[in-house]
Symmetry: C2
Subunit: 128 residues, 2 copies
DNA sequence: CTGAATCCCGGCGGATACTG
DNA sequence: CAGTATCCGCCGGGATTCAG
């Protein structure tokens, strides 16, 4: 069925046993695709990177840090990140209003993954 | 060569100190975004998963394995994967024609990265 | 069998203006 | 300050047809 070389289907550890089901090639692709969808937005990665390291940023901080993004998109992407559980949103009932954004634990856990992606991409040159 | 950070959150905020230095927060986001673009196509992951483990597949194999994809998209995504250096394309000058697709070494190296992404996504359950 | 070419459509994302 | 509301262009991607 599966010829496991360094196959993704072989998950070394850490997957829930209650399902009793490892990822097949198809569900694996689907699962990764779902994960990628969470990151698919045009600005999500830039936002995430701004938030990495437990940094808490305000809306205007993000606007300043990512000048090319419009308010609409920034708000939209933040909402989606919040809905998807990567970002935590804290509203301070003040005048003027103030909203803080921070990564959830799960969002923080994405950090080493993106780092791995970074290292993978860096190895592009050596192609035969 | 690349300094292997365990944590992207430790990246410096300013510019890199020297040339061979690793990523800043900004260039890191850009680099990851570039990497994600390579995988961004609607069907690329499914194709990649079909190819993982050094499996060589023909065009018609992939069509059968991914029934939902149209010929156009399959061809398009394969071309892009080839152009981006993830997939190797071998044309056999025969009648009827036959084309084999396989991962490049670099493409294979993506496998553990997607695996990490898979494990990250699996840990979504508990959020506080 | 393996594509390229063409037509078509929904939605992402940009620009701008308005609000509490 | 931190967002909504609205309009709109572009392009990713589906269906179908043609070609080597």
């Amino acid at each position: 069925m599966t010829r496991t070389h360094e196959d993704v289907s072989r998950l070394p550890e850490g997957k829930p046993a209650d399902e009793g089901q490892a990822y097949t090639r198809e569900t694996g692709a689907v699962a990764v695709a779902q994960a990628l969808e969470l990151l698919g937005g045009r600005w999500k990665l830039e936002i995430l990177f701004q938030l990495f390291g437990g940094r808490v940023r305000r809306f205007s901080d993000l606007e300043r840090a990512i000048p090319a993004v419009s308010q609409k998109m920034l708000a939209q992407q933040l909402r989606q990140l919040e809905r998807d559980g990567l970002v935590h949103r804290v509203v301070h009932p003040q005048v003027p209003p103030r909203v803080d954004y921070a990564l959830t634990e799960w969002g923080q856990a994405l950090c080493p993954v993106l780092d791995a992606l970074l290292r993978w991409q860096a190895g592009r040159k050596v192609e035969r």
